[in-house]
Symmetry: C2
Subunit: 511 residues, 2 copies
């Protein structure tokens, strides 16, 4: 950090797409005999700033890897897939490369590590540098670690959230009250958004909902919705849907709300560090950027969910409420049961079928999903002032029962580009109970993993159907789950995994 | 961390050296249509465990990058240079790859981040996994961050140090007292080791000294010594030198003392995080592994040195002494001035010439280097009980003045493979004072950078000669430094840099 800035005139190199996917990290490849490598050497995490000579602007910062012949010519600069997309050029384009200047804002992270609080200015500088792609993965890891372990107080969390909002696009709606809901996640099949949005929109609340795709789960809400209608709507298209229907269910990635959050998540996930401060900044930056004023946050609590104890949920909820207040929005927390999946399907299309069954009031619709969605919709209606406290559940139930929610959902899908039928997988295979007893516990993480091994979310029809919720009395040979896959290989692979997991279902003998 | 372990039979792939140097991080490259990528997907920091099928043993853990055709065939696995070296195979070898199991020991890092102390068992498990190459760079970054900011207490530092000692080779000497010295670093030209070792060895102390090569500096002690004699001695060769001469100056990397330290340094350096706990573990693990019993540690203190205040040096010194005591060795601390380079040369050969001048009692030998070395040698002789307290300096001065130290140095070089003449650079250029005045400050870091730009340490003859120490009264046009380089390009590049650095020399007008 303290190295003085080198004085170098940029060297012009020919751009070359090397076809290496480094999972979003920007990497450039140069030969050892390239002048910039020879003059400055090559150390761990050496970084270059590169830009196209035919374009003004700052370009991007990338980690340097050194390659041997014949991968590159001496005057070529290879780029990873993420850098190739970000540069937006063509092979052979002239590119300038200089050693990247020291990252000044990282000094504030070092100070934070040594116990000094993160100021508003420091948070803004850090987030601006992260947004510009100047932080390497190890610097992001240090930042995330420094902010974890409850080391961010309310003021620091607020500073970070505000900076993250400022770094992305911010939507504004011509309405005094904009409703939103969010689930902290970690529970397969918890697809209440597809129900809550049409219910509350049918009752007159404005709810322009943006959702994410799966990161490590078998399906994100955007993936599920995409099996029913287009979701990658740009801002103008999203606005038209919301103006016509009073709500939407689109993919947030298309409107670039809080892009910094996406960059942090990339490193947070493999580290398994869910800090309250960063989680709050992540959630609330997206909500404020989406223009929401009244936000209901669902925190599922369970031993294999993301939040594992009511105490942890309480702390997180308090922080969300406090920081929300500082940002000028109303945040309400709802703790829900997170001990098992919600509904039956796990995987984009299978979860969409669950939602359709509830919306269409089918007799065999999953009751847990229906109840959960009605409860959340009811709270949101109360929070948004559409009904007196205590009257939300009845209002939501009415809108579902009388078909208004289903009509609203069809309207939203139509406005987003047309309702479609989710695909069905070509191959299925069922896992049966090896002994009789009562289902006493299920492992959400192992179920999610099995669904992913079957192909979800990449294959939208893939995943699994969950037949034996907690409390089910099963006989030997009774179906526990059915795997759905688009290839026999994936089906077999997922089944091998499911069969090997002793705690996928904990079945206890009953007297 | 909590993902369940997949059940996969290893897929056999053909090994391919791709020629990509990722600076020591193990990276493997597979095509997107390779079965293991298709079945498990590809996330940030996805990791594979790979091993050669013709070899037993655990193999190594590597980060996965996904590549397009035509870089690889479908059944090939590309490896980075570090992984290629570690696997030690040949192109086309059959390699098994499975998704790496979760890294259990990282749970203790997560706990540490959340404030729970690091136990001895946890430290041992972490260090064993780091040693086995199972930690990715972001996990190392999280570990280092979690240990920084003085978050390790004495017990934790001791646990980490003991674990690092256990993970490497440990030397044993057939002597009750084994002397050693170490400099915390950050001061260009501070090459006292080449003087202290022959002086104290000439006085009868056993001093089997291992040193490191440069990491970010223009020269490490091993680089300097290598211009005078071979240093890459394996243990048996090192032992023969020490048995014959009572001392040696070899490269520690050749005997694998505390290999974990080298892995940590790779990520510590770019993060600029020097935690007392990690620094103590780094230093003492190498000393104990080297079999040392009495260690003198030089801590240069200066505004542009590694340790910037006497208070910081005091804390570090106390921790070194405390942990040393727990490890059963005697550690003594010597704070020295770190405001400017020591001697005149910066760069391997130029520093070697300084040391030779002192050893040979040349009239123009750099006096600051001579005094510093005599003082340290004197303390070490007292610490080792060769002389009464207060008598060390005189004993050391005698051994230098009467030629015993120079004869001992020649003996050591001879035993290590033969004394040689350090090279001289082909090109030199001098930077002159732009105005008259008194040299009030010099920037150690900028001087080190200029020497590196000139080619040090890769070109052993390259670097610079420093003509104007603090307090020098200079006239306009008087030489401040002379750059030495092996190519005109590097010379020009280093000069451009030196000329641009306003604070390289702070020259104040005197009345």
């Amino acid at each position: 950090m303290n190295a003085p800035e080198p004085v170098v005139s940029p060297v012009s190199l020919r751009l070359r797409r090397l076809g290496i996917d480094t999972y979003q990290q920007y990497v450039v490849y140069l030969r050892a005999d390239a002048p910039i490598v020879r003059s400055e050497g090559f150390e761990a995490q050496s970084r270059l700033e590169i830009r196209r000579l035919d374009q003004p602007g700052p370009g991007l910062t990338a980690i340097l890897n050194v390659v041997h012949e014949p991968l590159l010519e001496e005057d070529e600069i290879g780029v990873s897939e993420a850098a190739w997309r970000a540069l937006g050029g063509a092979g052979g384009d002239a590119v300038a490369a200089v050693h990247a200047p020291p990252l000044q804002s990282f000094g504030a992270i070092q100070s934070k590590i040594f116990g000094r609080p993160l100021s508003r200015d420091a948070a803004a500088a850090i987030v601006a540098d992260v947004a510009a792609g100047r932080y390497s993965d190890i610097e992001l890891a240090a930042m995330i670690t420094a902010c974890s372990g409850n080391r961010l107080d309310v003021a620091e969390t607020h500073a970070l959230t505000a900076a993250m909002i400022a770094a992305g696009q911010r939507l504004r709606w011509d309405a005094p009250l904009v409703a939103d809901k969010h689930c902290v996640g970690g529970l397969p099949g918890n697809r209440t958004t597809l129900l809550v949005v049409p219910i509350v929109a049918a009752c007159g609340l404005l709810i322009p909902k943006t959702s994410s795709r799966a990161i490590t789960s078998p399906a994100g809400t955007a993936d599920v919705m995409e099996t029913l209608a287009p979701v990658a709507l740009e801002l103008s298209a999203m606005r038209r849907v919301v103006e016509r229907e009073g709500g939407c269910i689109t993919w947030g990635g298309a409107v670039q709300l809080s892009p910094v959050d996406d960059l942090l998540i990339r490193v947070e996930r493999p580290l398994g560090l869910d800090s309250d401060g960063l989680l709050v900044a992540s959630i609330l930056s997206k909500k404020v950027a989406a223009g929401s004023t009244h936000v209901l946050i669902d925190i599922p609590v369970g031993r294999t969910a993301k939040v594992r104890s009511p105490e942890a949920a309480g702390r997180l909820g308090q922080r969300l409420t406090d920081v929300g207040r500082q940002l000028g929005i109303t945040v309400s927390i709802e703790m829900t049961c997170g001990e098992q999946p919600v509904g039956r399907g796990i995987g984009p299309a299978l979860e969409a079928y669950d939602a359709l069954a509830v919306l269409q009031n089918q007799a065999d619709a999953p009751d847990d999903l229906r109840k959960r969605a009605l409860m959340l919709a009811g709270y949101l209606l109360e929070l948004g002032g559409k009904v007196h406290p205590g009257g939300g559940l009845a209002m939501a139930s009415g809108a579902l029962a009388n078909g208004a929610a289903w009509r609203k959902f069809q309207g939203i899908c139509d406005a987003q580009g047309g309702l479609r039928t989710p695909p069905r997988a070509r191959y299925t295979r069922t896992l049966h109970a090896a002994h009789a007893g009562l289902v006493a516990a299920v492992d959400n993480r192992a179920l999610a993993r099995a669904a992913k091994l079957a192909g979800a979310p990449k294959a939208p029809a893939a995943g699994l159907v969950f037949h034996a919720p907690l409390g089910t009395q099963v006989d030997v040979g009774q179906p526990l789950l059915t795997l759905h896959a688009e290839s026999p290989g994936e089906l077999a692979y997922a089944m091998t995994y499911a069969q090997s997991q002793d705690n996928l279902f904990t079945i206890v003998e009953t007297p």
